[in-house]
């Protein structure tokens, strides 16, 4: 009986542990894969985006740079509105990125107006 209780507590801990959202998510793996096979662009973008949503839902501050990375992948797909939206989110979350993000937003706007 005692063993059963212990087992259920352990199971709960393991299951609970698995669902923990970490600030980086699967970034390292996805970034590496992206360089290895550039056709994974869409996967990299989608996974990072859903990780960011997960962070927002769980009230966890995502790792620095992730919003901007999604922005750049949007830019690559010529989705300028999406790019600007994510660059702005990066700036909002990380004031240290302001100079860089402002430059990216300005140049994205220039490209989109062409």
């Amino acid at each position: 009986m005692k063993a059963l209780k212990l087992l259920s507590v352990l199971t709960l801990l393991i299951v609970g542990g698995c669902s923990t959202v970490t600030p980086w998510g699967n970034y390292e793996h996805n970034l590496f894969k992206y360089y290895e096979s550039p056709e994974t662009t869409t996967q990299f973008k989608q996974e990072t985006e859903s990780h960011l949503k997960e962070c927002e839902r769980s009230n966890i501050k995502p790792a620095p740079g992730l919003y901007a990375e999604v922005g750049t992948l949007c830019l690559k797909q010529a989705n300028y509105e999406c790019a600007i939206e994510f660059y702005q989110k990066e700036k909002l979350n990380w004031p240290e990125s302001e100079v860089f993000m402002d430059k990216l937003i300005r140049s994205t706007k220039r490209v989109s107006e062409k």
């Binding site: 600030p23 980086w24 970034y27 390292e28 793996h29 970034l31 590496f32 894969k33 992206y34 360089y35 290895e36 501050k61 790792a63 620095p64 740079g65 992730l66 901007a68 990375e69 922005g71 750049t72 690559k76 990066e90 990380w94 240290e96 990125s97 302001e98 100079v99 860089f100 430059k103 990216l104």
Partner: protein
């Protein structure tokens, strides 16, 4: 009697642990600059491996961030350089630091170089052997942190292994399939070891904003 024995072992263990602790070097120029953000440049790869630099590039941001600094979006930074016609990390590393810092609004810049890279199949584990050279410069070009190290990193994290039997099983697995799924976590541990432990650790950000 038994209790005494445990106490003795406990005290001895504590002595052992404190004995192992290394005192971090004082990086005075780093602390004087007290940067908030660090720009990680694309690593220079002087090995025969086609992706050694990518293993390091993918795992450096989380290591540097763990010391409390904002790290710039690596792929976005790389894309911007490429857009400017700078695809060769060697060319990027030779740009004036002041120019790079002002382009990105970075407080400090990290220059990673991977000098050697090999995978070694030993009896109880598979090892990733690496020689790296990392330095951080201020926007004025002053070296404020540097580490140059040859490393041998077990592919299977022995802290999580199950003793000898665990290692044996792990070896069977790693020797059968050594692909990036194994190398990437090893590269990540290596960067974390270099950057956030021992006497080479990057000083923790002073007044770091709590996460």
């Amino acid at each position: 009697m038994n209790r005494f024995k445990y106490l003795t072992i406990g005290v001895a263990f504590i002595f052992f642990l404190t004995g192992c602790k290394t005192t971090p070097e004082k990086y005075e120029a780093f602390e004087a600059l007290n940067p908030s953000s660090i720009l990680i440049l694309p690593p220079q790869n002087s090995t025969n491996s086609i992706d050694a630099h990518n293993y390091l590039a993918s795992t450096l941001p989380s290591a540097v961030y763990s010391r409390g600094y904002y790290v710039f979006p690596y792929n976005t930074v790389k894309t911007v350089f490429e857009h400017e016609g700078l695809t060769d990390p060697g060319m990027i590393h030779s740009l004036p630091p002041s120019k790079v810092a002002s382009l990105f609004g970075a407080d400090a810049i990290m220059y990673p170089v991977v000098k050697s890279w090999s995978i070694d199949y030993a009896v109880l584990n598979t090892y990733l052997n690496l020689e790296v050279d990392y330095k951080i410069l201020s926007p004025e070009g002053q070296e404020i942190w540097a580490v140059s190290k040859t490393f041998s990193q077990p592919m299977v994290d022995q802290n999580h292994g199950g003793g000898l039997i665990g290692s044996l099983i792990a070896t069977a697995v790693t020797q059968a399939i050594v692909d990036d799924e194994d190398i990437l976590p090893a590269a990540s541990r290596l960067n974390h070891t270099l950057i956030s432990t021992g006497n080479t650790q990057i000083p923790l950000k002073q007044n770091a904003v709590k996460e």
